[in-house]
């Protein structure tokens, strides 16, 4: 192969490599059951400062990705708040992550539905990306060691939480 042909082949390979790298770096794989949950540090939706899933190590955490513009999230929010009221405590909490949303809209949503569980803000969708979500709402149950034990795309309801999530949690109210 001549030098010119080699250079041409190298240029094409480099270009294809660049395109593949671009596609791979944009994509993300969904966090699977049994894997470590990402602990991206995020701004708190209310009150300032930052928070992260890592702060809840030692507790079961139901990570809920939501957004104020999402209609299923509106249906799901009262269910999650009721679940937090029943199960929330030193051993369990719901952790809301408001993703790709306007801060004021997110705050208004949390007030409207009286959400008492902690809320983080993921404006650029980086945390949602690291979990590999494809939309909102999505839920991930993370155990006290930070391992994902259950996950589901789409909204949850009372029946679903009772049947799918409660069996993982400590028997007495935590």
């Amino acid at each position: 192969m001549s030098v010119r042909s080699s250079i041409a082949v190298l240029a094409v390979v480099a270009l294809v490599g660049l395109l593949v790298y671009g596609l791979v770096s944009k994509g993300s794989s969904r966090v699977a059951v049994g894997e470590q949950a990402p602990t991206t540090s995020l701004a708190r939706l209310e009150g300032g400062g930052e928070g992260s899933l890592a702060q809840y190590r030692g507790r079961w955490v139901l990570v809920n990705f939501w957004a104020s513009w999402c209609i299923p999230c509106k249906q799901e929010a009262p269910t999650l708040e009721a679940f937090q009221q029943r199960q929330g405590g030193p051993r369990f909490t719901v952790l809301g992550i408001d993703t790709r949303d306007l801060t004021d809209d997110g705050r208004a949503f949390a007030r409207r539905y009286g959400l008492s569980y902690p809320q983080l803000r993921d404006g650029d969708g980086g945390a949602a990306h690291s979990y590999g979500t494809t939309g909102v709402p999505e839920n991930f149950l993370v155990d006290p060691k930070g391992i994902v034990r259950w996950e589901t795309p789409g909204p949850v309801d009372d029946k679903y939480l009772h049947e799918q999530v409660e069996p993982f949690l400590p028997k007495e109210k935590s």
Partner: protein
């Protein structure tokens, strides 16, 4: 009492004053932001398309947010800054000037110069070869082998 040069100086001063009056109000003012212009230059982060093309619930919220900022008198740059503060750098339609996104600027430039160099080298070679790569020029040494024999035979046949 007027001097001889006072008339041109007065005229220049008058023109300068007129120009000053004409441009003074607009010189310091930033252009008024418009939703139509801004939505061509920012993304709907959820849809992955230009905001201009998006009609999703998130896009409608984003448009309402921009309208509100415009109504508050914010400039286009201030609106974009506010969008970046809410959604991050990816809300801007133009690729970022760092990381992998930098390749969006660098690759076309490198490709342009590589193509220009290749074209220039090709033209130089073509010109050195006589304009047609030397294919149409006769060999100064004359034909060789069978061609030489055939030529000699033809010349002998037509020799008058």
């Amino acid at each position: 009492m007027k001097t001889a040069g006072s008339k041109p100086v007065g005229l220049v001063t008058a023109v300068a004053m007129m120009l000053l009056v004409a441009f003074a109000p607009t010189a310091g003012a930033a252009p008024r932001a418009s939703l139509i212009e801004i939505e061509k230059e920012v993304m709907c982060p959820v849809c992955g398309t230009l905001l201009q093309l998006a009609e999703s619930p998130q896009a409608l919220r984003e448009k309402a947010f921009i309208r509100r900022l415009i109504a508050e008198g914010k400039t286009e740059a201030q609106v974009k800054d506010a969008l970046v503060a809410e959604y991050g750098e990816e809300v801007l339609a133009l690729p970022q000037g760092s990381g992998f996104s930098l390749s969006a600027y660098v690759v076309p430039i490198v490709a342009f110069f590589a193509a220009a160099i290749a074209l220039a080298l090709g033209v130089l070679r073509w010109r050195r070869a006589g304009g047609d790569g030397g294919r149409g020029r006769p060999d100064p040494a004359g034909p060789k082998g069978d061609d030489a024999e055939r030529l000699d035979a033809d010349l002998a046949r037509y020799d008058l």
